[in-house]
Amino acid sequence: MSATIGFDRLLRLAGAIGVAGALLACGGNERPAGAPPGPSGGDGSGRTAGAEEAGWFEDATAAAGIHFRHVSGATGRKYMPETLGSGVCVFDADGDGLQDIYFVQSGRLPGFSADRPPESALYRNLGGGRFQDITASAGVGGPDRYAFGCTAGDVDGDGDRDLYVTAHGANVLYRNNGNGTFTDVTAAAGVGCPLWSASAGFADADGDGDLDLYVANYVDFDLADNLYCGENRPGWRTVCHPRNFDALPDTFYRNRGDGTFEDATSAAGMTESSGKGLGVVWGDVDGDGDEDLYVANDDTPNFLWRNRGDGTFEEIGMQAGVALSEDGVPQAGMGTDMADFDNDGKLDLFVTNLSEETNDLYRNLGDGQFAGQTYTSGLGAPSLLDLGFGTFFFDPDADGDLDVFVANGHIIDNIALYNDTITFEQPLKIYVNTGDGRFRTLPPADGGGPFAGRYVARGAVPFDADDDGDLDVLVTQNDRPAILLRNRGTGGRHWVGLTLDGAAPNRDAIGAVVTLESGGVRQMRVARTASSYLSQGERRISFGLGDRTVVDSLVVRWPGRRGFREEFSVPAIDRYLAVRQGEGRRDR
């Protein structure tokens, strides 16, 4: 027998290829019952039975009252969408100041039966690390929408956060009614992109104060035309490689200022359509005061859309050095994040990729140029067996530099038939910043019980779920339960958290850049919406101070065309503080 597989083998074994569609464009609890158990049996949580709870993180899912379980709708027919969902968003849905959680549900595929349609789930933060499922009353379940990702932001400037959900099929915008309930306003808002959309993110792209929307679309996959991939033997069928399908063009929606949108993809110059988009993150990579955009594309070069400052963009990924692997190969971009990991005042980029590829770290050199630091940083080699999805920079030990979290899990559930080393369920990883531009892989024992487990992880975001100042982690899985990893503490290190209050209509100050200096260490954070994979972390900004107890300076560059810098004093540490636009000292 031959176990030769790899991509080429998968591709060549594709005996019939579906009808290629024309390129499309966009105009205009235990939930649910009947969900199948994970393939490995057990509760599918990835938790290791009897694992000693020690180390940095502990599994707090059940204690938090979270019971969300993703339903892929898989039946063995290996529809491509079944293996890629789904995401999670953390945002204050009910305006009580606490960060709530929205889990995105996929659902039914042909041949799959469920007692009732699987639904997405909104969990209200009750405080103290406890959550309550309020999906029904909030009206955001979206049953029978095969959804993937989400992003939240105040699109109509009324002071609350609205919710956008992507899907294989029409996306949906839920307007926040301001009372913990939502209304589907997709049609009126004009953002119901019918393509297979993955990540989406809000940002004030044109500097006019309101939030625009970028939607990364994936590939032209038709459920009615399901290509066979894998060896032609019972049990060996696999989901297909994206190279079997055409890329779908991404969509950029410009906010008209009233919460309705126009498709401005062409007007903004965002017409490069070769990418199979999965991950998005907005940020000012060239430091010129406007929002640029990075898109992680699967099997195609990643995009870096440089904002020209006039509401139009140019794609510079290849020339900036952030489109490919260090050896010039397009990789399977999944999740992405943007942050200043080396505290040099510039936003660096990280992308997760397929197994047998590395995750990629691109260090910002300034002037829109990046250097690949994947291997020299120590992030490359340890990722070769992992298939990374959700990812983010964060400082869970509050030592003042950013570590990296990666949620792993393969897309091919029978990968063991094809490779004797790569596994379907994979470990979560933390790469600890050693402060010299390098990272070391955190040993599982140091990470705590959840790091001894294996998962089919997809979305992941940092989130102080219990408001104790250290960053916890939310992870979604494919066809398995979501998990909340509680941070056991920063070991006495200090921190300060900020909630930015910007000027209307961008009250969450999306796009603000915050620079904090303490003891000669200067750190930068950005207020943004989506990142990671199909997901969005909380809007509060967190700085680790290590053993320092004084913040020497805190400067906020507020977003927008008339953005300006203000300096604030930090009267106290080890707590969350509100930072209000216009109340600081204007910085010249």
Partner: protein, 362 residues
């Protein structure tokens, strides 16, 4: 399928990339001579080429436990360790080879590559230059030299090295991507744009399957609609672009069969089998062709060959049932039909949609 226990046959099969035969011959030989280092090293190479790095590693380590100086196993193990992300361990294996044979150029280049990965640009550069002194046209050595120089901030000589890599290997994606980045950093935007276009053209050449996918879609669509002339046109376009793709010759063969041109069908199927001697689908189609020619004995043999390669495909069992019925073997017919139906029931779809599916035996 039985294989003769033979290392030379196994190595010959390995050289012609017939990994199933290689594994068969070597495994059979190992059964007679367990622990033989040469056989273990050969089977390690087969495992490494068939996505079984775990078994490859075990085989190479077993060789090294018996013959610690075996350079092939050190290098094979190093390759597996690189593939699985253990670069420092891989370097140790390569160092062992270089200690015994300092002039080993593949080992020197592999070590230079690991050095540049580790950020040790000076030693990487030295290694690459040693290889280039002996092999000035070695594209990979030029590329590693370029990476080392770029790592040290020596962008102008790095560019020279990348251009040399490109001269030796015009579709070298790594060299092209670094050249275009260097041009962009130097503010040479027109040159960067030109290199970007070159990169995309090279990528298109490298990814043949992507380039011909439109033809394949069109061909299969046409075939399924019964427009065999259009299907043939599309498949032959693929064959012109990618003449070493056994699948397209199989599809051409199937299409000629549908057109009733058995001579052309045989030619195409034999080409497919020359490229992939263990192509079970081509063997099955050839069996079907022989059955159509009423050469039932040969048809049966060919279909059994197909089944020996992959016993879990329903179609050859189905065709064989028809042949056996025609030969008066009612029991054989029933057995093969039962097998075919069982496999169809257990298969979630089939990769053989190009073959017409009928409910009647052929």
């Amino acid at each position: 399928m039985a294989f003769e226990p033979s290392l030379p046959r196994g190595l010959a099969a390995l050289r012609r990339a017939d990994l199933v035969a290689a594994e068969g011959h070597i495994t059979a030989a190992l059964a007679r001579q367990p622990g033989d280092p040469a056989l273990l090293e050969a089977i390690g190479a087969v495992y490494a080429k068939t996505d079984r790095p775990g078994r490859a590693e075990a085989a190479f380590r077993e060789v090294l436990s018996r013959r610690p100086d075996a350079p092939g196993s050190h290098l094979g193990l190093a390759a597996v360790l690189i593939e699985t992300g253990r670069l420092e361990e891989a370097a140790t294996q390569i160092e062992a080879v270089l200690r015994a044979d300092p002039g080993n150029l593949p080992a020197t280049l592999k070590m230079a590559f690991l050095e540049v990965r580790a950020g040790r640009a000076a030693t990487a550069e030295a290694g690459a230059r040693r290889v280039l002194a002996a092999q000035p046209g070695n594209a990979e050595a030029q590329y590693v030299l370029g990476l080392a120089l770029q790592q040290r901030g020596e962008n102008v000589p790095a560019e020279t090295a990348f251009r040399a890599a490109l001269a030796a290997s015009p579709d070298h994606l790594g060299a092209l991507s670094h050249l275009l980045m260097l041009a962009a950093r130097a503010g040479q935007h027109a040159e960067a744009s030109r290199l970007q276009a070159d990169y995309h053209a090279a990528l298109r050449r490298v990814r043949v399957e992507e380039r011909v996918r439109g033809y394949r879609v069109a061909g299969i669509e046409a075939f399924n609609k019964g427009d065999y002339r259009a299907a043939l046109e599309a498949f032959e376009a693929i064959a012109r672009e990618d003449p070493r793709d056994p699948q397209v010759h199989l599809h051409i063969g199937s299409t000629y069969l549908a057109l009733g041109d058995q001579t052309a069908a045989r030619r195409a199927l034999e080409t497919s089998l020359e490229l992939d001697p263990r192509g079970d689908r081509a063997l099955a189609e050839l069996g079907r062709l022989l059955a159509l020619e009423n050469r039932l004995e040969e048809a049966e043999a060919m279909l059994r060959r197909s089944i020996a390669v992959n016993p879990e495909v329903p179609e050859p069992h189905y065709y064989l049932a028809g042949v056996l019925m025609a030969r008066g073997d009612g029991a054989g017919f029933r057995d093969e039909m039962a097998l075919s139906e069982d496999l169809r029931r257990r298969s979630a779809g089939s990769a053989l949609e190009i073959m017409p599916r009928t409910d009647e035996p052929p």
